[in-house]
């Protein structure tokens, strides 16, 4: 079963750095639960253009941002929230949850998966959905069925404060997907944990 969309692309900061707005109340029949777009979640950005070799971008949620126009308006309210819901529901819809999504690969039209910088570009309003477990497994397995993390340099080059915890979260997920390869994943995990936890603390 394909996951329901959790949001849509609203902006990008670079070729691989997209902003996804999570569907709120009223925008979809089943607004996603916060656990569906947690930190380190793998998502697919469905591309709308037909005839392109790429079907979807594979992205990783690396950041979350809450938008609230009401923030800072400290004056007295003329109408309480219960009334606003009735008289001007659009005003409430102005609050939004934004996700920072980094594109780390793509799915092509024949169902092949690729890690790395995608050539295709997502457009505004492209739908974003959670990647399925089987897709996740396929995306990370190489021809020999061993896990691959070829997008790691991409993440490290992203130079974001949350990259190290992101990688640790990804490796932990892969550990469950590839129990037989846990030993080599542990080497990588220890290395990242050492550099991000122990060395800065020393």
């Amino acid at each position: 079963m394909t996951h329901l969309p959790i949001g849509k692309i609203v902006k990008s900061n670079s070729h691989i750095d997209y902003v996804c707005q999570v569907f709120g109340q009223g925008e979809t029949l089943h607004p996603p639960a916060p656990s569906a777009y947690g930190f380190g979640s793998f998502v697919a950005v469905e591309l709308e253009t037909a005839g392109e070799p790429s079907r979807a971008l594979v992205g990783l949620v690396y950041n979350t941002l809450l938008m609230n126009p009401e923030f800072g308006a400290l004056g007295p309210r003329l109408s309480p929230r219960s009334e606003v819901e009735i008289f001007s529901p659009d005003y409430l819809a102005e609050t939004a949850t934004l996700l920072g999504v980094i594109a780390i690969g793509w799915l092509d039209v024949v169902g092949q998966v690729h890690q790395g910088v995608p050539a295709a570009v997502a457009t505004v309003n492209c739908l974003v959905r959670r990647l399925e477990r089987t897709e996740l497994l396929t995306f990370h397995a190489d021809d020999a069925g061993q896990p691959q993390l070829r997008y790691t340099p991409l993440l490290l080059a992203h130079n974001h404060a949350l990259v190290a915890p992101l990688l640790l979260a990804v490796i932990d997920q892969l550990g469950e997907l590839f129990p037989l390869s846990r030993r080599r994943l542990t080497v990588m995990r220890n290395n990242i944990a050492w550099k991000s936890i122990v060395q800065p603390a020393g």
Partner: protein, 559 residues
Amino acid sequence: MNSQPVQPIGTVKGPGETPNDYLLIAPDPERRVKHGEFVYYLALIEGETREILGRVTGRRPVKLLPDSFLADPGVPPATVAALLGYESEATELFEITVRVLGFHSAEMGDFINPRVPPVGGAPVFIATDALLGQVLNKRPRGGRGSAFLGSLLSRPEDAVPIALDVRGFTGTHLAVIASTGSGKSYLAGVLLEELLMPHNRAAILVVDPHGEYSTLQEMMNLGEFSEGNYKPRVRIFRPDQLRVRIDSLTVGDLRYLLPNLSEKMHYQLGRAFNFAQRSARNGHYTLEQLLYAVRQTAESKKESEGFDEDDPTTGALVWRLQSALGHSRIFHDFENLELEALFKPGQCTILQLNEIDRRDQQVIVATLLRRVYQARMDTAKGKLDRGDPSHLPYPVFCLLEEAHNYAPANADAVSSEVLKTILSEGRKFGVGIGLITQRPGKLDSDVLSQCMTQCIMRITNPIDQNRIAESIESVGRDLLQELPNLSKGQVVVSGASVNTPVLIKVRRRITPHGGQDLDAPAEWLQWFAQDRAAEQARDQALFVEKKIQYEDDGDVLWA
């Protein structure tokens, strides 16, 4: 040969500083990669997978918990890391330097260096006990020509027995170098035990200046040493049994024994010596005949056909010869230590030289070595018949304790020359020398460098360490650095008798050790023991006063 081990202990990082080194990275949580440990990687050499053996020579941490995590001795640093979220036990990583020895070629009997560093990322394994036992020894333990000294230090006791190749050190000589108290006499004892085992049955002479080796006599009664009708024999010559016949001394020996000779005396002694040799029957002459020769060759003799007692040179020479040789119990007119009594296969002869003046010791050793060497040469060349007392139809091995006394550096000793000759030429005629010294710095460097097998124990003196480094090429720098840190009974063996330098823990001796230090406090306490009270009282009692009788003139008559 290609037994695949279970787990590698590290991974090759790349080449090291020198062409023979490579680096590996190992977490080594169980601390198995010790200094001196043997490790190997697999490489394809001429179509065959070979184990390329190497020795660990250095260890450097590349990953350690930060110092600030160690602030409280009561808190293990790993728990601090766990507190922050680093819960892995992998908190250390080491860069290990390995000196490549090569793969062991059974045909060559030696290691062959592949001369190319291993592939980066290749797994490295700890060499198994069985592999080491096979490749480190030239001969199997207990086999003919093997001397089992002990086991490899980096492994549990007896896991990898190390046996020296007896042929190696009896042919190209042996040096045992160790500071006092590090167990050199013990090691020599072990070596002698092995040489007299049924599988070796060597003909050995031990020069023992301290009388430490008499306990070897126990060998004659122990079952371990006998096989069939073979039983080793240990013969001890005590100082009062030593004899050097005067006519076996060379003019050099005489000059060495006689102190403060003037130029004239040197000249006259040389002439007298030649005279004595010319006029001797069968080459034998006595002290009296030598003195006669001195008188006959006096300068004044030429002028006045008669000996002039007042000739100062002749008088002084006669006096010196008499005091040096005439009053000695060692230098004798007729008796000599016969070689056939000293050397026999399966016999260890111990010459106890304690209580003998050092110069006399040197002359005894020099004359003996000269005679042994001559006898072996003459026997080898067929000059001696079977009945001749000097007939020595088998190779011999001479072990010299306190060897720096017989070939001192920067000093002249009568024994130096013959020792050097034997060390450089003795191999051809089957005369092997073993030198034991506690001061290699005092030993002649030529002598030391001629010993192709070395057993080096703890050495702390830097001068001695430098001398070893100068004279012995086979011991690497890494092993030399180990020398001050060795414990009692640990020895570095290198050279011709082993395939590669090894660090050994010397095995237990079968016979008791005779060279222990005196236990002074125990002896003092013994003095106060109950059963010695009477003896003590007797020793300390005052003499009874006795009336002294005087003669008439006041002299004491008797007391």
